[in-house]
C-alpha cells in the first residue's frame, strides 16, 4: 500500500525538443485506481515507464510512499508491471513465470508455492500451472501476466494497456475482473489506456494527457460533466461531443437560427483574452432532443444512422456560418429518422459546455 507522487516529472527523449512528458504533477492516493488516458503519443505510457524505472526522469522527481525513487532501478521500487503484450517468459511454465520474481528475492519455497497457488486460484489458472505460455489462449496469457504481478504483493501495480490485445467481448469481461480484483487487493494501481470507456468504467480517478501535458485529473463523472478544456470534452465520451466555434452576442452563442443562452459572466469571459467575438460551445449527442420544425431547433440533414440496438446515433450536417458542419445526436430507436431527412436538433438547456474560443479552457 502506498501513495505515488509525480512532482514536475519530465522526460525528454534524446534528439527531440518537445518533452514526451512535461512537468507532470500528479498525486495518487493509497489504494487508488488511477487511469492515465490520452491519444497515441500523448506520453501516458512514458509516464508509467518513468514510474516503473524503465525510463529516465530528466527533471523533477517521483515518490512512492514519500520515498524518492526518481533514480532508483526498477527492482528497488517494489512495483509490478503488466505489459501490453504480456511479455511472459516463453521457456518457463505458468508456475515458473509467476514464481520468477519471488525466486529472485530468495523467498522460501513454501511461501512461493502458497502465493502462486493463491494467485492462480484468484485468476482461475490452477489447471494451467504446468503449461507453457504458448499453450494458452490470449485471455489466459493476460491472466498469467496479472498473476505474475499479484504474487509480488507490490506497493504499486502498473498496467500498460493490458486489455488491448483481447477481443472485444473478453475485454469487457476482463475489465470488470481487473476492477474488482483491484478493489479486493486494495493495491494502488496506475493503469494506462487509450480507450476512454476503460478509463470511465475502471478508474477511481482519470488523468487525461495530451502532448505530454496533464489536461485534467478528476473522477470519471466530473471529467464527463465538467471537462476542463476542449480537448478533454472531445476526448471523453463516445460518440464525441459536438464542439463548434460560433459567433457570440450579448445573450449567448449563435448556432444559425438557434440561440444557446449564456450567462453574463460567461459572455464576459469569452470576450476576454482575444476571444474575437467567438465562443466555443459543445453539447453531447445524448444531451439533444429532436424537435418539430416549429420549436426552433437547428435543421440537420441526416447522412447516416447507426442503430446500436438500445438506441441510435444520427450523423448529419448543418449549415453554420456559411460552412457545413457535422453533428451527431443520440436518439431513441422509435424516433429514428431516415437518411436524407431533415431533423431539428435542440440541445437541452443547461447541458452545454462553453469554452474560450482561443485558449480552449472552460468558461
Amino acid at each position: 500500500m502506498a501513495t505515488v507522487t509525480y512532482s514536475k516529472a519530465s522526460r525528454v527523449y534524446p534528439g527531440q525538443e518537445r518533452p514526451a512528458v512535461n512537468e507532470l504533477d500528479l498525486e495518487i492516493g493509497d489504494g487508488e485506481f488511477l487511469v492515465l488516458v490520452g491519444p497515441s503519443g500523448c506520453g501516458k505510457s512514458t509516464s508509467l515507464r518513468m514510474l516503473a524505472g524503465l525510463e529516465d526522469v530528466d527533471a523533477g522527481s517521483i515518490y512512492i510512499d514519500q520515498r524518492d525513487v526518481t533514480h532508483l532501478p526498477p527492482k528497488a521500487r517494489d512495483i509490478a508491471m503488466v505489459f501490453q503484450n504480456y511479455a511472459l517468459y516463453p521457456h518457463m511454465t505458468v508456475y515458473e513465470n509467476m514464481a520468477f520474481a519471488l525466486k529472485l528475492r530468495k523467498t522460501s519455497k513454501s511461501e512461493i508455492d502458497r502465493r502462486v497457488k493463491e494467485a492462480a486460484g484468484l485468476l482461475q489458472l490452477e489447471e494451467y500451472l504446468s503449461r507453457k505460455p504458448k499453450a494458452l489462449s490470449g485471455g489466459q496469457r493476460q491472466r498469467v501476466a496479472m498473476g505474475r504481478a499479484i504474487v509480488r504483493e507490490p506497493q504499486v501495480f502498473l498496467m500498460d494497456e493490458p486489455l488491448s490485445n483481447l477481443d472485444a467481448k473478453l475485454r469487457v469481461q476482463t475489465r470488470t475482473q481487473i476492477a474488482s480484483l483491484q478493489a479486493k487487493l486494495g493495491v494502488t494501481t496506475v493503469y494506462v489506456t487509450h480507450d476512454q470507456v476503460e478509463a470511465m468504467t475502471m478508474g477511481h480517478r482519470v488523468a487525461v494527457l495530451l502532448d505530454g501535458v496533464l489536461q485534467q485529473v478528476d473522477t470519471p463523472r466530473a471529467l464527463y460533466d465538467t471537462p476542463a478544456n476542449v480537448f478533454v470534452a472531445g476526448f471523453m465520451g463516445s460518440p464525441a461531443m459536438n464542439i463548434k466555434t460560433v459567433p457570440l452576442n450579448e445573450q449567448g452563442a449563435e448556432f444559425a437560427e438557434l440561440q444557446i443562452p449564456l450567462t453574463r459572466e460567461q459572455v464576459a469571459a469569452a470576450r476576454a483574452e482575444g476571444g474575437d467575438g467567438k465562443v466555443t460551445v459543445g453539447f453531447r449527442p445524448e444531451d439533444c432532443d429532436l424537435v418539430s420544425p416549429t420549436e426552433g431547433g437547428m435543421p440537420v440533414v441526416v447522412e447516416l444512422v447507426e442503430d446500436l440496438g438500445s438506441d441510435a446515433n444520427v450523423y448529419g450536417h448543418a449549415a453554420l456560418g456559411g460552412n457545413s458542419e457535422r453533428f451527431v445526436v443520440r436518439t431513441d430507436r422509435r424516433s429514428m429518422p431516415n437518411m436524407g431527412d431533415t431533423v431539428f436538433v435542440k440541445p437541452r438547456t443547461g447541458r452545454s459546455h462553453v469554452f474560450h474560443a482561443t485558449t480552449g479552457s472552460r468558461i
Partner: protein, 321 residues
C-alpha cells in the same frame, strides 16, 4: 567430407485447381516428381562418401586393384585398415589415436571460448546502453574483413616476442613448450571466430522482445540474471548453429593448427597427420580412407546431437501483436 541433408518437400497440400502461376509451381514442387528428384540428388551427393566408407573396409590388395563398387559382387571386408590407422605401431601407419585426442583437445576449448565470449559481448551490445556502443559493434563487425592469413605473422610475433611499445614490455613472450602450445591455438581460433560469432548472436539476441527484458528488470533481475535465465535459454538454436559451424571449422582446420601448434606428436591434430599421410605415404594410400573416416565420425556426432536444438517458435506465447 560432406554431410548432405536431403531436402524432401513433403507438405502435400491438396488445393483444388490452383489458378496463379505461384500456385501451380508450388503444387508441382509438392508432387511426387519433386520428391523423386530430391532423393536422386541426395543419393548422388552421398555416393562418394559411401564409396569412401566401403573402401575403408576392404583389404589392401582389393583397394589397390579394383574399384569399391566391385565389393558388392566379391564381398571381402576387414577392419585391418582401422586397426592400422588408429593403433598401428609402424611409423608408416597412422597412429591416429593420439592425434585424435589432440584434435579434441584443440577443438573443444576453441569452440567453447568464442561462443562464451561472443554471447556475453552480444548481450551487452544489444541490451546495455553505453557510450560508443554502436561504434564498437561496427568495429567488431568490420574485423570480419581481415583475412585469417594476414593475421598469422603478427600473431606468431605476438606469441614469440610479446608486445613491446616504445621499449616498454606490455606483454612478455608466451614461451610455451609442448602441450602448452594448445593455448596458442585456442587463442588464435577464439580471435578468428569472435567477430562473426558476435555478429550472429547479436542479431539473434537483439531480436528478442524488449518487453521481456523489461519485465525481468521489473521483476528484479540484474543483467547477469537476465542473461542466464532469459536470454541463454531463448538463443539455444543460435548457439547450436554457431557451435556446429565453429566445431566443423576448427576440426577441419589445418593451417592454424599447423602454424601455432606445430607438427609435433604432442600437439598436432588429425588434419596435420592426415595431410602427412597423403603427402608421404603414396604407396600406402589404402589407409587414407580409414583415416578420413575416423576424422568424419566426431563432426557427425556433434551435428546429430546438436541438431535437436534447432527448434522453431521458442518465443511462441511470449508476446502478442
Amino acid at each position: 567430407m560432406t554431410t548432405a541433408t536431403p531436402t524432401v518437400a513433403v507438405g502435400t497440400q491438396k488445393t483444388d485447381g490452383p489458378t496463379s502461376t505461384a500456385g501451380r509451381v508450388r503444387k508441382r514442387l509438392n508432387s511426387r516428381t519433386a520428391t523423386l528428384v530430391s532423393i536422386v540428388i541426395a543419393v548422388v551427393w552421398t555416393i562418394p562418401t559411401f564409396g569412401l566408407l566401403v573402401s575403408s573396409l576392404r583389404p589392401e590388395d582389393e583397394i589397390k586393384t579394383t574399384g569399391w563398387w566391385t565389393a558388392f559382387t566379391n564381398p571381402q571386408f576387414t577392419l585391418e585398415n582401422y586397426q592400422q590407422v588408429l593403433f598401428g605401431r609402424s611409423s608408416s601407419s597412422g597412429q591416429l589415436a593420439g592425434y585424435f585426442i589432440n584434435s579434441l583437445a584443440i577443438t573443444i576449448p576453441s569452440v567453447l571460448f568464442p561462443i562464451a565470449f561472443a554471447c556475453l559481448a552480444a548481450y551487452a551490445l544489444a541490451w546495455i546502453n553505453f557510450r560508443g556502443r554502436d561504434w564498437l559493434y561496427i568495429a567488431i563487425f568490420a574485423l570480419q574483413i581481415v583475412p585469417l592469413q594476414m593475421a598469422l605473422v603478427p600473431l606468431l610475433r605476438f606469441f614469440s616476442t610479446g608486445v613491446t611499445l616504445g621499449g616498454v614490455t606490455i606483454m612478455p613472450a608466451w614461451d610455451l613448450v609442448d602441450e602448452q602450445k594448445f593455448a596458442q591455438v585456442w587463442f588464435a581460433h577464439t580471435c578468428f571466430a569472435l567477430p562473426f560469432a558476435v555478429f550472429l548472436l547479436h542479431n539473434f539476441i537483439s531480436q528478442l522482445p524488449g518487453d521481456l527484458m523489461e519485465a525481468a528488470r521489473v521483476d528484479g533481475a540484474s543483467h547477469p540474471k537476465i542473461f542466464r535465465t532469459i536470454v541463454l535459454p531463448l538463443i539455444t538454436p543460435a548457439l547450436a548453429a554457431l557451435g556446429i559451424f565453429q566445431f566443423l571449422w576448427v576440426w577441419n582446420d589445418l593451417l592454424v593448427a599447423l602454424i601455432f601448434a606445430g607438427g609435433s606428436d604432442e600437439t598436432a591434430p588429425l588434419t596435420v597427420r592426415l595431410a602427412e599421410m597423403a603427402g608421404t605415404r603414396g604407396n600406402e594410400w589404402q589407409r587414407l580412407t580409414a583415416g578420413a573416416f575416423v576424422s568424419i565420425v566426431v563432426p557427425l556426432i556433434v551435428f546429430l546431437s546438436l541438431q535437436r536444438y534447432f527448434v522453431r517458435g521458442l518465443l511462441a506465447g511470449s508476446v502478442k501483436g
